[in-house]
């Protein structure tokens, strides 16, 4: 079970991403962070904290649950439905630049669902994508704007991001086989 990122490197990656956000957007005006449930949400909050540490601005942060937009929800209608969680976007996304945050970018289908969900909330000026890990194997034409770390994987492997807020520890591990 090789660890590919520890707490220190995770923290540095998120701080670097915060700097890249400021460089690319020339400040934080009209920015907002939206984390994809579940692990995108604490990551979005950490990036918001990093932005605050760098230049003192508070960037509004929301949480998006994409369950109702999944493209595989009704394909295999057997067994329990995925647990639905609350979407909380307590600000207007109209004309804002939205920074969408997720833990792992893989097929791109989650991001496709998140884009559809976001558009139902209004018309942002732009949407940029932040991921902690890009593991490749895209099935849709989707690309991240900010990447914590690129990790080449085989489709048989599984990448797990663990965060203190949810899992009690900060690390990224790559597992072999079907375990997830």
């Amino acid at each position: 079970m090789p660890q590919v990122m520890d707490a220190d490197r995770m923290s540095r990656a998120l701080t670097r991403i915060a700097h890249e956000i400021l460089e690319r957007n020339r400040g934080t005006a009209e920015l907002a962070l939206v984390g994809i449930r579940r692990r995108g949400v604490p990551l979005a909050r950490r990036i918001a904290a990093a932005l605050h540490d760098i230049n003192g601005d508070d960037v509004p942060t929301g949480a998006l649950d994409i369950t109702l937009y999944r493209d595989d929800l009704m394909r295999q209608p057997v067994g329990p439905q995925p647990v639905l969680r609350r979407t909380e976007i307590p600000f207007s996304i109209d004309d804002r630049r939205i920074l969408l945050v997720d833990d792992v970018l893989y097929t791109g289908r989650t991001i496709r669902a998140a884009l559809d969900a976001l558009i139902d909330f209004g018309r942002p000026r732009a949407i940029q994508l932040i991921v902690l890990i890009d593991r490749g194997h895209r099935e849709l034409p989707i690309k991240a704007d900010y990447v914590g770390k690129n990790i080449p994987t085989s489709p048989a492997e599984s990448v797990q991001v663990r965060l203190i807020e949810i899992d009690g520890t900060d690390e990224v591990i790559v597992q072999n086989g079907e375990a997830s």
Partner: protein, 309 residues
């Protein structure tokens, strides 16, 4: 996860399943606050609303819930269907099934009608009220509304007052509230009091003052003239005198009491207008919450295999 592919009654549900529906409803409620109040979840799914009894609130609530989940909906009202031409319930439903609906939402005047269909049909069945038996989504939206105000169910005193004998809302609520640890009181004239209430853990009383005393929630039920084949009460005026909820009687309840009513209300019969429109009334919130709860039920049931059990 829900164990059954149908929602026929609260009696069949475990407390964990009730909690799952209520938690899902909480997430669904946020959709009503969006500029675009629609999610693509049930796209391509067909839901038939089959109502053999008049209904405005429940039918429109289900329709809104289905549309917000992007299902294709089809509403059949009995007055316009072949039932008036002598077709049996089963034949009507078999014909509808030939159009391959995924879910049938059904209201029927006979207790147990949805259970019959659930045994004989391929579609998932949602009971939207069957005779004097159950009305599960009403009890779920009542519990959801209580939770929003009290943040808990366990240990609350809930008084249910009115025509208890003919009420499917009562039966579903007694099952649900009992499973969740609520102290349930039932109040009705002796002629409208079901005999078995204490067997379900309900304290029965003919005194509304006793029922309302210290209550966290007062739930008023309508006198169901359409189900009464006989003389149960001398007059609606006398009923209001003895069992109507007035501001004076309400003073016995807790200071943060909430007043609920599943509708339709008969003002001046079971409830005073000042109470119905007063600050403690959450009657219109119940209607709004009904949509979120029904979206949750449709979403959770849609996950089950159409063939399996």
């Amino acid at each position: 996860m829900l164990r059954s592919r149908h929602l026929l009654g609260i009696a069949d549900l475990e407390p964990a399943e009730i909690r799952e529906i209520l938690e899902t409803a909480e997430a669904m409620k946020e959709i009503a606050a969006r500029p675009i109040k629609k999610v693509p979840t049930l796209r391509g799914r067909t839901v038939v609303n089959l109502f053999f009894e008049p209904s405005t609130r429940t039918r429109t609530s289900f329709e809104v819930a289905e549309k917000r989940l992007s299902a294709d909906t089809l509403s059949v009202a009995v007055a316009t269907s072949s039932v008036t031409k002598g077709e049996t319930l089963l034949d009507t439903v078999r014909n509808l099934e030939a159009m391959a609906p995924d879910i049938i939402v059904m209201r029927h005047g006979s207790s147990g009608a949805p259970h019959l269909l659930a045994r004989l049909c391929r579609s998932r069945i949602v009971n939207a009220g069957d005779g004097m038996h159950e009305h599960p989504t009403q009890a779920l939206l009542d519990a959801f509304t209580i939770l929003e105000h009290k943040q808990r169910l366990d240990g609350l005193k809930v008084a249910i007052v009115g025509d208890l004998l003919h009420s499917r809302v009562l039966r579903s609520n007694v099952h649900l509230l009992g499973k969740m640890g609520v102290d349930v009181w039932g109040c009705a004239p002796p002629t409208l009091m079901p005999r078995d209430l204490p067997r379900f853990g309900v304290t029965a009383t003919t005194s509304i003052d006793e029922a309302v005393q210290g209550a966290d929630v007062v739930m008023m039920l309508r006198i169901q003239h359409e189900r009464m084949h006989g003389h149960y009460i001398p007059s609606t005026r006398e009923y209001f005198e003895l069992f109507g909820l007035t501001p004076g009687r309400l003073r016995r309840a807790k200071s943060d009491v909430i007043i609920m009513h599943p509708g339709p209300m008969n003002r001046g019969v079971e409830i005073d207008s000042d109470v119905a429109d007063g600050p403690y009334s959450v009657i219109l919130e119940q209607v709004a919450n009904g949509v979120a709860v029904r979206m949750a039920v449709l979403y959770l049931l849609a996950g089950h295999d159409a063939e399996g059990d």
